[in-house]
Symmetry: C5
Subunit: 254 residues, 5 copies
C-alpha cells in the first residue's frame, strides 16, 4: 500500500445548482413574482450574512448555459447545517420557480503533499502558514466577480495510477502544480474540497477570478502539469458570475 498523505478538514461545502422554470416565471402574475423575489432575496441575504458570524459563508452566482441558471455555494461547519440550508431554500416561494439539476457535496481539505512539516507539527508552524492553512479550511468567499466549478479525480488507469505511486513522486508533482498556481496569485483564488465518500468525483475545485479568462488560462496551463496531464480526470465545468442578493429580481427580468 502506498503511503496516504496526511489531511485536515474544515467546513463542509454544498454547491447547490438551480435552474429557473422560465415558463412558470413568464406566466406568473406580478404579485407572485414579487413575492418570489422577496423571498429569494431574503433567503440569500440571510445565508450570505452568516459569514459575519464566523459560522460559514455563502454566495450566489448566475450560471451560463443550460446546465443551471443559479449556483448557491454554502460553506458550513457541519453537514447538518448544509442540509438545512438546502431544505430551507425549498421553503421559499422562489424555490417554486426553480428545479435542482445538480449539486456537489464536499469538505474543505488541506493535504500534506506540499507542506509535510505543517502536518507533523502544526503548532510549530509560523503564524502565517497557520493562517494560510486555516483560510483553506474555512474559506471566505473572495470579492471577485466570477466563479468556475468542476469536480475531478486522480486517474487510476492501468498504466498511470496515482494511488499506486510512491508518495515522493506524488508530492513532487503536487509541488510543481502548486508552482503553476502561484503564478496566478492575486488573479485566482482557489478552494479545494474533498468529495471522497461524499460525491462522485474525489475533489471539487472552485475558482474565483475577476477576469473569466484567467479561469480558462489557469485550467489550461495546469493541464500541461504532469499531475493533470497524466493523472487528472475532470467532470463537468460550470462558469458563473457573482451577483448581490438584491439583484435577483433584475437577473430574472433579463
Amino acid at each position: 500500500m502506498s503511503e496516504v498523505p496526511p489531511t485536515d478538514e474544515g467546513w463542509f461545502v454544498l454547491h447547490d445548482f438551480r435552474t429557473v422554470d422560465w415558463d412558470a416565471w413568464r406566466e406568473a402574475p406580478t404579485h407572485r413574482r414579487e413575492a418570489a423575489v422577496g423571498d429569494g432575496v431574503e433567503y440569500l441575504r440571510k445565508h450570505e450574512s452568516i459569514a459575519d458570524a464566523e459560522e460559514g459563508s455563502s454566495a450566489v452566482f448566475s450560471v451560463l448555459g443550460h446546465k443551471a441558471d443559479i449556483l448557491i455555494t454554502h460553506f458550513r461547519p457541519t453537514l447538518d447545517a448544509l442540509s438545512r440550508a438546502e431544505r430551507q431554500f425549498e421553503q421559499t416561494t422562489f424555490a417554486g420557480f426553480t428545479t435542482q439539476p445538480t449539486s456537489y457535496v464536499s469538505v474543505a481539505e488541506i493535504s500534506g503533499y506540499t507542506t509535510p512539516g505543517y502536518f507533523e507539527n502544526p503548532d510549530a508552524a509560523d503564524e502565517g502558514l497557520r493562517q494560510y492553512m486555516q483560510g483553506k479550511l474555512t474559506p471566505e468567499i473572495p470579492n471577485k466577480d466570477y466563479a468556475g466549478f468542476y469536480p475531478m479525480s486522480k486517474r487510476r488507469g492501468e498504466t498511470y495510477n496515482w494511488y499506486d505511486l510512491p508518495i515522493d513522486e506524488r508530492a513532487e508533482m503536487m509541488e510543481a502544480h502548486a508552482e503553476t498556481g502561484k503564478e496566478y496569485a492575486g488573479k485566482i483564488k482557489q478552494v479545494i474540497a474533498s468529495s471522497v465518500g461524499f460525491d462522485d468525483y474525489e475533489w471539487g475545485v472552485t475558482l474565483f477570478a475577476d477576469d473569466p479568462t484567467d479561469i480558462k488560462d489557469i485550467v489550461y496551463e495546469m493541464r500541461f502539469d504532469e499531475v493533470s496531464a497524466k493523472y487528472g480526470e475532470f467532470g463537468t465545468f460550470y462558469i458563473g458570475q457573482r451577483f448581490p442578493p438584491a439583484d435577483l429580481g433584475a437577473l430574472l427580468e433579463g
Copy 2:
C-alpha cells in the same frame, strides 16, 4: 478458471432513495401535509420496529444534494419482504410527495478471503467469530448519525483483472484491506452486500459513522490499498444523516 471464494449470504437489502416533490409539498394545504407526514411516520415506524422482531431492520436518512432527499434502507430475510416494503411505501399519502430516483438491490454477504477456516468448518469456529459473521449477515443498523452508500465492482481490465488473479493474491489484498478497516473500529461500521446478478455493480457498501469525516477518511485511505488502487471501480456516492421517523415533518419544514 480462478478459484471462487466461498461465500455465505444473509438478509437481502434494498436501498430505496426518494426525492421530495417540493413544489407539490409547498402547494399542498396543511391537512394534506399533515396526512402525508402522519402516513409517512407510520410507515417508517412500522418498518423500523421490525428490528425488534428479528425479521430484519430498516432505517431512514436525509440525503444531501440533488441525487435524493431521503434514503430508506431495508434489510429483510427474503426478496419478497423487500418488494412488499417498497410497494407498501407507495400506498402512503406521503409517497405522493416523492419520486424514486434510484435504488440498489443486494444481499448481505461474507466471503472466505480473510477467514477461510470459518468457511471450511463454521461449527468449529469460536463463538465470537460465529457471532461476528452472523452480525455481518443479519446486520443491525448501528446507532450512528451518518450513513454513506456506494456501489462498487472489481476491475476486469485488460491489465488489471481481479477475476483472473490467483485466489492467494486476492486473499492477500483483501486482508491488507481489512487491516485498514480495523483502524476505524468503533468509528465506522460497514455493511457489505453482494449485488452480483441483482444490480449494476457487484457490491453495495454502506458505511455508518458519527463523524462524516471518518467516512471521507476511510474511503480515501482505502483508495491507496492495492485492492482499491488497482482493482476498485466505484459508482455514485451518497451521504446522509439518520433521523427518527418522528422527525419527518420537521425535515420537510426545512
Copy 3:
C-alpha cells in the same frame, strides 16, 4: 477473419419492462383501479395461455427497485407477434397506469461451440440432444419463483478481443463455462437469446430460479470463468419474482 460458429434461431423474445405510475394509481377512484386490474389480468392471462397453443410463451414478474415494477417476458415465433403483444398491452386500461422505462429484443439462439456435431448433422443427433436443443430454441417458462435478466456482449478490447480469437480457443472457453452452468442443473434454468443487430448488447440472458441466491451464485461463479473474466461485458441487471396474473391487483395494493 476468425471462423464464425454455426447458430440456429428459435423464438423471438421481448422483455417488456413497465413502471407503475403510483401517483395515478393512488389517486384513481376504485372503479378505475378495478377496471385497470381487470384489463391487466385479462391481458396477462391471454398472453400466458398462448403457451398451451405452442405459439410461444409469456410470463409476468414483479421487479425490485427503481428500474421497473413489472417485467412481461414474451417468446413468439415472429417479431410481428412480439410487436402485437407490445402494442396490445397499450390498449389496456392498465397500461394507462404504467410507463415503459426499458425493454430488450432478442431471438433464442443455440451455437455450435459446445456441440459442433449437432450443427454438422442435426438429424444424426440422438433424440435427447435434439429435444434439448429444441427446448433452447422454443423455451417454456419454467415453474420457478424468480427471474433475473441482463444483457451482455463479448469484449472487443485492444488486448482481449473475443472476435479475434481462433474458434478452438473460443469453444474451449465456452465449454468450461458450460461446465460451471451444469453445477446449477435443477437450480437454474437459463435462456440465451441473441440481440446482435436487434438491441444494444449481443445477448440477453434470462435466469430462472426458486432461490434468488442461486442467481447471485451462478453469475458470481461464472465471473471467474475465463470467458467472463476476460471477455464478458455486462449491462444492467434486473431481479424479479414471478406472480400469477390473478395477483396483479394484490401486487398493486402493496
Copy 4:
C-alpha cells in the same frame, strides 16, 4: 497523415424516430383519433409518393421495444428537404400523439476502398458499376419487410487506430468485409451513409431484409471480420417492420 479514400455523396438521410404517447392516444375521443390517423396517413403517403418523382424516397416502419414506436426514413437531395419533412410532420394532428426520442442525420456515401478504379475515372466505368454506384447514392427503399438501423464509427484506439493505418491495409479489410456482405446478396440490402460532421457516429447503416434473422446473421458474421472485430464501434440498434401508410390506424389499435 494517412491517405484519405475518395468518396462521393448522394442523398441526405434522416432517420426520424417517434414514440407514441399511448396515454394521450387511449384517452382521445374517436374523432380526434380519426383525425390523427387521417393526417398521419396523408403525411406518410405524400412523403412515400415522392419516390415516383425521383426527388428522394421515404418509408415508415413500426419499431420494437421502448426506444421508439415508429421510424420514418427520408432520403432527399438536400438537407433543406429533410428539414422540411421533419417540420411538416410536426404540423400534423398525428404528431400531437408522438414525441421524437431520437433521430439520425447522414448522407449516402460511396468510398473508393473497394473500387478505386471507379473513383479515378467514373466515366470509364462500365454501365453496370455506374448504375450500382448510383443506386448506393440515391437508394430506393427496397420491397422488404424488415429494417434494422445502427450508427457506427471506426475505432481510434491507442492500439487499434483505423485512421492511422495505411490505406492499403484499410482497403484490404474493407474488401474482405464486402465479401462477407456478398454472401447475403438478395437477402439483405444495405444503405451506408456518412454522418461525419453531422451526427455522433461516423456512419449510419440501414439493413433491409425479409427475414429479420438475416439481419442478426449478417451483423454477427461481420463482427468476425477483422475490420469490425478490431476497428468497429457500434451505437444503439433498432429493429422494425415496414408497414404501408394505410395501416397506421391498425398499428395504433394494437
Copy 5:
C-alpha cells in the same frame, strides 16, 4: 511540464440550442402564435443587428434531428453580455414555446502553435496577419448557408497524451492540420473557441459552409491528420441551416 503554447482570447461565445415544444405550438391560438413569432423575430433581429455596432455578432440556424430545432449563436466581448442575451430570450413570448436542451460556452482563441512569431511580437506582424488574427478573435458570422458545431478535446490517453508531448511535436501536428484546412479556403470558415474551464470539452468548433457536404468532407479528411487520428476526442455533432429572423414564422409553419 510540457511547454504551454501562448494564446490570445477574443469574444466570448454562447451556442444556445432550443427545442420547439411542437405540442404547445400546434395547440396555441393564432394570436398567441403571432405574438410569439413577433417577439422571437424582434429578439433575433435585435441580437443580429448588434454586429453593426462592433459589439459582437449573433445568428440563428434551424437544426436537423431531435437534438434541437434552433441554434442561436452569440459572440460578445463579455460573459455578462452572453448571460444577458440568454436571459433576454427567456423574456420573449416565443421562449414559452421552446426548451433549452443543451448549450456551449467558450471564448474565441488563437494559439501560437502555427504562428509563434506573432505571439512573440504581435506589433511586428504584418498588417494582413494582424487582421487575420483579429478576425479569429472577433469573428463575423459569414454569409454562408450552413453551420456545423461540435466540441472536442485533446486526448490524454495512457499511450497517446497530447499534454505530455514536446511543444515541437504538437506544433508540427497543428501545422499539418492547418494545411488540411487551407484546402477548404473559401468553402469552409472555421471558428475555434476554447472552453477550458468553461464547459465540458476543451474547444468548441463552428464550421460555416454553403455546401453541407464540405462540412462532412473537412471533418472526415481531418480525421486522418495525425493530430485528430491519435489525439482528437469528439463530442456531439450538430448540423443546421441559417435563416433570417424574418423567416422564423415560416420555419414554425413547416
